[in-house]
Assembly symmetry: D2
Homo-oligomer: 224 residues x 4
């Protein structure tokens, strides 16, 4: 009788461990076309998956929720169906390029104060579901160094807003803007506007995807 | 015994009638600076209140929920606290000027497809609470007739979107755009860009407030 | 001796008549990409040449001076080398689309007051050389009828400026804006934004080139 | 006889000195509203005049030719009447703020390639009259340091164009952009967007006018 009980307990324990092993942390990357491309072959999410597999890190499930052209308020509108419904443990918000870019290309960017308002509203809704949040600054619109790309001023401004939110909310920030501009200082000697970390000034090339994958991982592992 | 019952019934009926008289239909006007000004002395909501009082129409309560600079997605963000929390019977949505205007003034207008998307999302959330909806087209940005104001093309375009939504959702539409442009055809002989129905091309003057009050009332009484 | 003189006179007279026949009126079409395409096969200038040839009208030489992306001040900058140096008899100015269009696409359109200022400066310089001038209104940016294209308001506004200049300077005006919008009212039943008179909302298709060719000829023959 | 000759020589010498004293170098400051304000009390041209007077430097005549809202092509249009007609020895071109600024505020800025084209056309016309040229970079649109003002990217870009022209034409450049951004790094600890060197982010305050006056003088004295 005792023996049977012992076996039963052992089975239960094994099952629990197995369950725990199965219960991976679900990370949803919530963003725009850069994240939409992130799940494709060579995309930053795919690259990160491969890196984790190689290092036998099996307790994370990485999911993409990026839609091209999205601005912060588009994320807010679709967060219930596209993110909350997935019951993620961690959400990485990566938005801001279109909020700045579309000011010029279409006259439909986002005012800085409203950018912050919607950004904080998204975080609040996620945190209300006990979801951990990681946020990212937008990297580049044009790769020329020394801040001579047309919208560098605003990318810096919106990145500052995101850093401020991260600080006030004690949220890890993946500072792609700082990372990219620093990298370009020393790795863009010909001052090209694309081709170093992006294919078109905005969307990531192989090197860019690789850098973002590494940086995202650093951000995710900062989550407590 | 019968008599007492009769008296009791009478009291009950009186109470019910009194209650019904007390239970006014709450109408929330949900919009931008035009609606924010609407509750001030001379504003279109105040004017409509006065008109109803004069005609002894007592079964409507008119409430303003306008905030300057609001675009359709700003309404979406604040609809729970500012509108749903008030448990209105009818909501009049009056938005669109800034969605067009800010394209030019700040580069932060709203794309037409997203305008429609957020507009429909607001209606859906209201209808889910059994709230009746009335929607309005944006009147003018500049009063010059014959469509020579800089943003006439887009005001017409966004008004078409609103008319299309009204039709597909069988919702009453207060077509201020049609009303104003028609009125200006015959009442703006000097082709002034302001001063006929507005003080600055956008915000209503006395005549404009009066016209909008009348037109809003027509829309509200179309609600079934 | 007398006979010889007579023959000599005759030869001279013939030579003069021949010279006069040779001395065609040179018409330079001065504009943007629409005019740049105008000299290509099927372009409106080529079409007009063919029409004149068919009707044995031989006393006009049609020359294109269009450069893509040009606004009114670009014409002013290059008018000496590209137009005056050709010693034309007539210059047809056909500009304005980019002055309006680039407001949106690049934030580099032309203010209405400066549009008029540069336009008048060009006319003044041409008239100072005894060159006759014909001016044209910009046709369309988008072919939707009923003024729902995003920049219809401004196209109407800038067309009004051109009509005003034409009137005050007693210059023939080729009113392509009026012509096109009128034509689209009855010939664009599906309210398409391109494909009726243009290939992309701006640049002329076969029907458009044909209409512009006819209309240009009417304008040129109004020159006194 | 000798005496008379002596007296004659003396008179001649006096006349020559007098003539030389009269023949001041005329410097025309050619620009926008900043230069229009420059000739007013406290403006940078007035300040420079006062400084020169204090130091008994009498051989320069400083003239303002600034008009509010001017972009590079506006200077080109009015250079004959407003500058060449004054027969200056030196022209200081100080333009670029509106070429960038109006992209946002009105959609009517100047494309970078056309900015360079018109800028070079102005210089060429001045040099054809043997006029010496000094050129300036545009200082600021917003004084926040670390390039977070909305249009910093473009101000840097257009400043680069001006530096490139200065280099290729061997013309002295008054690099106000470099000077201001450097100054703000250490003198704008609270990261204000105005009030350090300007009153509104663009137009100079007392300190700004003083700095520009000094810097202009350095540029003018570099003219060979």
């Amino acid at each position: 009788m005792k023996k049977i009980l012992g076996v039963g307990l052992l089975v239960m324990l094994i099952a629990m461990v197995a369950f725990k092993a199965d219960k991976k942390k679900k990370v949803v990357f919530f963003g725009d076309s850069i994240t939409e491309a992130g799940v494709k072959p060579g995309g930053y999410i795919t690259v990160l998956k491969d890196k984790l597999a190689k290092e036998n890190i099996n307790d994370y499930e990485l999911v993409g929720a990026g839609i091209g052209g999205n601005k912060v308020y588009d994320l807010y509108l679709r967060m219930e169906t596209d993110v909350l419904a997935q019951q993620p443990d961690i959400v990485v918000i990566y938005v801001g390029v279109n909020d700045v870019w579309h000011k010029r290309s279409f006259g439909t960017g986002t005012d800085p104060d409203k950018f912050e308002k919607f950004y904080r509203a998204i975080i609040k809704k996620l945190q209300a579901q006990n979801i951990k949040v990681v946020i990212c600054t937008p990297a580049t619109i044009g790769e020329r160094k020394n801040f001579t790309n047309a919208q560098d001023g605003e990318l810096n401004q919106y990145s500052e807003i995101i850093r401020k939110i991260a600080k006030s909310e004690s949220i890890p920030v993946v500072d792609l803007r700082a990372l990219f501009t620093q990298y370009l200082q020393t790795n863009n000697p010909d001052d090209k506007d694309r081709g170093v970390l992006t294919v078109d000034g905005v969307h990531l090339n192989e090197k860019g995807n690789n850098m973002v994958a590494d940086e995202m991982w650093k951000g995710i592992t900062q989550v407590k």
